[in-house]
Symmetry: C2
Subunit: 643 residues, 2 copies
């Protein structure tokens, strides 16, 4: 069977400037900071209460549960990022902290395996009674992922065993059998976590439970409607545009054709669906995954890869509804979309999936953290006018500056685990073909189907430079290297040992067969400045263009271009110069001539007077780096001159 | 003393096609319909409960108070419109209904004069304890205006006497004296109503109370802060951008320089301020009025005359914050702005005030009613995409079709009283000079300072035609006619008895001295199609133009131009043809060549592919007439071609 496979953990060693720097920020800044946050040791921020909740649940301390009902998940996400960081930066003290934390978690676990501090503290009689609103299965999903990461990195099984006991407890209560609740989580994630758990433990029952959660979702009689009826009909989203689709539970998943409802929940579900679709070969489920993926990417995704257009319910809105200023674009949703895209890539090796991963990773995901790794965005707007954000309530959710921490602190730890595990997304392998999806400097080892080994050493200044050099060593037998030709790139070339090679492409990958020991491959991707337009059905971007170079989306900031960015016009036909700058942590800065409407005050608010335009020098910087120079306006889309 | 004076009631008889039709709709449709609504005789709409509340308060029926705390005001507004309608269409049956209603109101009045059904029914011990949230003084203000209208039209004093007793009751509880509450209304209107009451009754104490409410507002110690402290600090707007400025009570009114907070409350307050500024000659108050008026008109008013940019608190947002799609633009706020502008005109005869009245009346006010007078908008957007309104919660307040009635039914009766009293706004008089502010066919009588009389007969097809003919008769002595030259008009001429006259202008009015018996004056205003741009600080309109002809703002509707109006571009340099059409109740329709971006589907949501534009025929219709042909897109602003 020809399967796309993820690489066993630890096979890819990232040495890339761009990503190694960020992984270092995770290790040096985020993990210690978040540990303090979880322990309520930060001043000037909302307390977390999460570790204390575990101490109370373990009987080590008196007190009441504090925080959101899903507060446990912050602990799990922290464990996961810390575990990943140990893989690239061993740290015995951190490992000891983790071991002690895992001991504490074990002490909080109930005799039957149950493990959620909210219900342990507030009364176990209510557990599993409100799968829709409460987050028991969600928190469990995060703990599964944390346990797997820690096991993979350290080989220690304790947390894995704790969590398997918890899953078994869940499976004793929820499932298809008579006498069990025929439910599923209100906030998905456990589906994809259980698939991983099944792979790690080789226990099929976890995958079976994941499949049950997916297939049971939205079936009649509707479990959530039953829960609602049991709560006297109280249902927060009844009058909303979503109804039960807020939870992607208004119909069976195979009937869902548009991404709807809460964006993070949606893409976490679709990720689990893609896993099950791949493992079962179920064509209906595969089709549903493709349809939903296409719906998002072709109709509901921002150019930065962000998803979720509305703050109301942190939700998808509708096809082509992509407001740049009132967007939600939660960092977690972008990360979830990477999970989905990566799983689609495992399902079928098509470059469009990797294109989406890349679009998100270099733009709408890392925009969630400051360049010093100390502050975070939950919401990632594409157009910001700070004065308006202070005055107009529809921008209430928009922060113009990254924050130190959040009361609902889902995004920073999610970003930490994503960055810390970036190596997972670089390659997949099918038989003797190695697919390289993301371009970053790394050294990696592969085992071919013959059992023989290959080592690749990749060096590149991506995303700033389009040259990717690949040195092959220890290749005991020939293999095929498949290099993604990004969707944004229309001019590229490959050389092998200095000789141009006319590589065939398949599903968006340049195929380089018969790679062998000592081969030096060089991929050159054209990195010209590109101006991109949105589909004309996106009314918010009508008459506007956005600048990209390579995978990087650019923006205009007030720091470079002054205020009233809406009065700027850019002409794609002008020459634009990209040059290295040490500003903003080191970027390719793009400059050229643009036009600015005169903001000379008219006496009247409305008049026939024409508006004059003057030529100016405009500066574009990468979107991900915005808001690192104080508060100011920002815009990704700019009016196109000459229409 | 040279004072600008409103004309005594009943002096102006409107015969205008445009307005007479609407006044007839008020009489024939709105007043009977609203009477049914007040009596809960409508099916398929929210009950009103207002008349029943009075019956319960009068002890004629058992029951609980129903509706908003300001439900009484709907009764008052209905009385006022019905009274005005009797002036132009006598109706003994309606007058009898009014008399019976007034009897009922009299029965509900308490021995000490108190008259608010909410507190009469729910407990008088709580009256005047929550001036900020409750609407006792607001309802009283509306009843004062109703009583004055009914008295002016019929000469009947009963309601006037009832309401004077209520005001005296209020004045016994609230005022500057020791032992009284040093408060003022949370929702203004009583200020301007008391000024009128003082004029009608010649009782100075009502004007004194109005002045107290205005001057005490926002003074330290802040009365509302004291009320809030008495409610354990509970204050809905504490975390909002407004604070107490939601009520225009965060500082003394003479210190207020930006229109802030709830838009209707704001302009009702400013109307009262303008009255007191005029009557007292207080220069600080006059300056505050001018500053606030200018702030609105030059920075916070839509091209349609609508005000109040945000649904959050139905409020002003900030200078130049004028979103066309998420606008509130409440019909009542537009009406209130007419009150303010008219009072500024009484303060000083400058055409800019009348320009604002005209802008509102022909656009953002009458857009609030359907062409058949049966359905109403509370919110008046300038850009509507129905599909988005159903899906994006930020448009939750936007209705794409006018509604029959509202739970909070302030707007339809407010519009009824405005339209029914349109004759009030046509002229003012100063000594022997008659100022004509609005152009509509009418016959009117004036008494000059000498005591001699003048009669004017005006005929015009305004706003469709710029010719205004004025026949003077019964002029016993010469006088000056001052004709407003609208701010939108740069080419105009006047003839007297067929001979061109080079009239001087003063403060925006063409002066025609020595007008005498038999004179035939003709004013010609150029009615070319104009494309208007917004101040470049309005980011929502950057690169866009709006079409106007005369005072009428035009819009594009889906019914004429298809969907995706954001893909249209118009070039002001193209020829545009205005021609009469019987559609939409009879309008000048404007047509010409525009461009439309191809909406050919691209496979990718973002691409470098240029968008092609094709020439199309575009049709503009008056904004006020939008949404009379089923649901569809609409936009006032369109992208300007050639930038």
């Amino acid at each position: 069977m020809h399967e796309n496979k993820a690489l066993p953990f630890g096979q890819v060693t990232i040495s890339d400037q761009f990503w190694a720097h960020r992984r270092e920020l995770v290790r040096r800044e985020m993990i210690p900071y978040q540990w303090k946050a979880l322990n309520d040791e930060l001043e000037d921020t909302e307390p977390s209460g999460s570790i204390r909740n575990f101490r109370i649940a373990a009987g080590l301390e008196e007190g009441v549960f504090y925080g959101c009902v899903f507060q446990d998940s912050d602990v799990a996400k922290w464990i996961e990022s810390a575990a990943f960081s140990l893989a690239y930066a061993p740290d015995p003290a951190l490992e000891q902290t983790l071991d002690e934390l895992i001991d504490l978690i074990g002490k909080a676990q109930q005799p039957d395996g149950y493990l959620n501090t909210y219900f342990i503290i507030n009364g176990l009689e209510n557990r599993f009674t409100n799968l829709m609103y409460q987050h028991e299965l969600y928190c469990c999903g995060h703990f599964i992922e944390a346990a797997i990461a820690y096991y993979r990195v350290t080989g220690k099984r304790k947390l894995l065993e704790i969590i398997c006991r918890y899953v078994d407890c869940i499976a004793s209560q929820i499932g298809p059998e008579d006498g069990k609740k025929h439910g599923y989580p209100g906030h998905e994630i456990i589906e994809m976590a259980l698939v991983k758990l099944s792979e790690v433990t080789q226990e099929a029952r976890y995958r079976t439970l994941a499949e049950y959660f997916i297939r049971q979702r939205g079936q009649e009689p509707n479990y959530f409607e039953q829960e609602i009826a049991g709560r006297n009909g109280e249902f927060k989203w009844r009058e909303s545009p979503f109804g039960l689709q807020y939870y992607q539970a208004g119909m069976p998943v195979t009937q869902q054709t548009q991404a709807q409802g809460h964006a993070v929940r949606a893409v976490y579900l679709y990720s689990g669906m893609a896993d099950i679709a791949r493992l079962t070969g179920d064509e209906n489920l595969q089709k549903a995954c493709r349809t939903l993926f296409e719906n998002i990417v072709r109709r509901q995704m921002y150019i930065t890869g962000s998803i979720g257009a509305s703050s109301y319910g942190e939700s998808f809105v509708d096809d082509y509804e992509l407001p740049n200023d009132t967007i939600y674009g939660e960092t977690c949703a972008a990360i979830g979309m990477v999970f989905f895209a990566y799983r689609m890539l495992l399902l079928e090796n098509r470059s469009e999936y990797a294109d989406v991963m890349e679009r998100i990773l270099y733009n709408g995901a890392i925009s969630g953290m400051s360049l010093d790794g100390k502050q975070f965005f939950y919401v990632n707007p594409l157009e910001v006018t700070p004065a308006a954000c202070r005055k107009d309530w529809k921008y209430h959710h928009i922060k113009t500056q990254r924050q130190k921490w959040f009361k609902c602190a889902c995004c920073p730890p999610n970003l930490a685990r994503m960055v810390a595990s970036i190596s997972e997304y670089v390659y997949t392998q099918r038989d003797d073909r190695i697919h390289m999806h993301l371009y970053m400097s790394n050294e990696s080892c592969f085992t071919l189907s013959s059992g023989q080994h290959v080592k690749l050493a990749v060096t590149t200044d991506y995303p700033w430079d389009g040259k990717v050099s690949i040195h092959i060593s220890q290749a005991e037998s020939p293999f095929t290297l498949a290099l993604r030709i990004p969707g944004w790139c229309d001019t590229w070339s490959v050389t092998r040992n200095g000789i141009p090679e006319a590589a065939d492409t398949e599903d968006g990958y340049a195929l380089l067969p018969d790679c062998g020991n000592g081969d030096e491959l060089v991929l050159n991707l054209d990195m010209r400045v590109r101006f991109v337009r949105a589909d004309p059905r996106v009314r918010q971007n009508a008459g506007k263009i956005a600048m990209m170079r390579g995978p990087v989306v650019y923006c205009l900031e007030e720091a470079d271009n002054g205020t009233a960015l809406w009065n700027l016009l850019a002409d794609p036909r002008e020459p634009w110069t990209a040059a290295w700058s040490d500003m903003l942590g080191g970027i390719m800065r793009i400059q050229g001539t643009a036009w600015r409407a005169s903001d000379a005050c008219q006496e009247a608010l409305y008049s026939e007077a024409p508006i004059s335009y003057t030529r100016i020098q405009a500066t574009w910087v990468p979107y991900y780096a915005w808001a690192n120079r104080g508060e100011g306006e920002m815009s990704v889309w700019v009016r196109e001159k000459g229409l």
